[in-house]
Symmetry: C2
Subunit: 268 residues, 2 copies
DNA sequence: CCCTCCGATCGTACGGTGTAAGAGTTCCTA
DNA sequence: TAGGAACTCTTACACCGTACGATCGGAGGG
């Protein structure tokens, strides 16, 4: 019944992270000795945790999240599957590392003094990055701690809010609301893209048939007037427009609330 | 290389859905003949799609998303694994059906005339339901079509916006912004809950050690002033408070924008 | 120089997974 | 009574994560 506990340390591998990799609140993969420290001191061909993570990301980018398996990553590195376990505690750990690595790709504008512009820019960058790595939305739920790159992300985002002179909690509250929004958007967007991709595999004729028969049945029931109308209308808003609309409205609301005089006190 | 195509029909099973189950834009599981139509006309013990979905949901509720396997669900139904495939096209399909079934649990208030109250109520209901079925955030990405229950959800949500007299597109835009928010919140909330649960397995002493050593290292770097401050502060906002704050601000922004005179035209 | 040690890699094996193929069972209809 | 549709089961395959122990190769001590 009780599955294997999270391995504390085996083979006597070292525990220390590569120094400035700071993980908070829970341990990520721990078995790793620091990777290939002095170049070619040991074996010429030295496997490293970063290499593994990069390869796994490449696989996920190219063939989707379900293609990421230990054996597959190992094969791409010309290495046996079990070799990976020296550098990475488990597959779940690898996923966590992948997520944090991508989080490091997001470019973070340094605070300009215009908090709204900064936040908007960060949100767009986040969205672009998740769009570039569509698998992120499937793995992001595996995150069970704050990785070094997310720490940097949060720190910078909070710094961008400095001009507002909020308490740290109010600032965090604002930040979380915005992050919530763009995380949710990324999730929905990914779903939509998958549906679109599925539909692209149909011939135009098939597609038209499926859609119109669906809409037809929808209308026939007479119980979905709004939906019928929606599907019949010609132009739909693009995803970009929807992203910008919701983000702008959220920031509008936050801005107004702040102008109204500090964040509303919550009872307690 | 090319994996199995989605099975069109095998064994000559019927295709028709149970009549009012309306799926749009892509097919869900199709092999199912309609389940146990006339009670005990056939075998006394008749497996049905709904039973399978319910059992799968029960497994997920009790033991988490990773416990849901075809064999496991079959075992709980005292049936062989392959029997499920008569009623359900694949595991992915089962997941889609599970998601839609849960979506049907969300209670939908009938429009009261106060759109903001209605939307808020729906958002809370959605959050509560996703909280009750924590696995939803891991499966929701599998949705590749609009299930009957989500159709109802959208239809009702759009109806709630009627008093605003928007074009159907603008209404949809508003709705999507809100859904984006509470979907994102559910995702983050689930992450947080998993972290909390992980931490609950530690003794208070261990916990304090882990956290404070983390914060200590954080401070030591001198590069995370905001985060350090955040972790040292005593009171954190509850999740409820954060949920309500972001939702209210988003609705504030939408409201203000609408008052400003119809939704802003987007160039094109 | 060899020998020992240990970091790193590998081979094998176990118990799980999703599901294709087709045989077997049960019941309704002609 | 025969036929066939509706449904269930057995078997088998390829793949998965990973426990365990053998093995390899270079660094340090004698």
């Amino acid at each position: 019944m009780s599955p294997s506990r999270q391995g504390d340390s085996r083979h006597g591998g070292k525990r220390s992270e590569p120094d400035d990799a700071l993980w908070l609140l829970a341990a990520p993969g721990d078995p790793g000795a620091s990777p290939a420290r002095t170049g070619s001191r040991r074996r010429a061909r030295q496997l490293s945790r970063d290499q593994i993570v990069a390869t796994a990301i490449a696989v996920a980018d190219a063939e989707g999240p379900e293609a990421v398996s230990m054996r597959r990553v190992a094969r791409d590195l010309n290495v046996s599957a079990m070799s990976l376990y020296w550098h990475v505690a488990s597959k779940d750990d690898l996923l966590v590392l992948m997520v944090d690595a991508v989080e490091g790709e997001i470019d973070i504008p340094s605070p300009s003094g215009d908090w709204r512009a900064d936040v908007t820019r960060t949100a767009r960058g986040y969205r672009q990055t998740l769009l570039r790595h569509g698998w992120m939305t499937s793995f992001i739920g595996h995150r069970r701690s704050l990785g070094p790159n997310e720490l940097v992300h949060i720190e910078h985002s909070l710094a961008a809010l400095d001009p507002l002179q909020l308490t740290i909690h109010d600032a965090f509250n604002v930040l979380m609301a915005v992050e919530t929004y763009y995380l949710g958007f990324a999730l929905r967007e990914q779903q939509e893209l998958m549906i679109e991709r599925t539909r692209e595999e149909l011939s135009p004729a098939e597609l038209r048939a499926v859609v119109s028969s669906g809409v037809e049945r929808l209308r026939a029931t007479n119980r979905y007037p709004h939906l019928t109308q929606l599907f019949e209308a010609e132009r739909r808003l693009t995803r970009d427009e929807r992203f910008e609309y919701g983000l702008a409205r959220l920031l509008d609301g936050i801005e107004a609330d702040l102008r109204r005089g500090a964040t509303r006190e919550v009872g307690g």
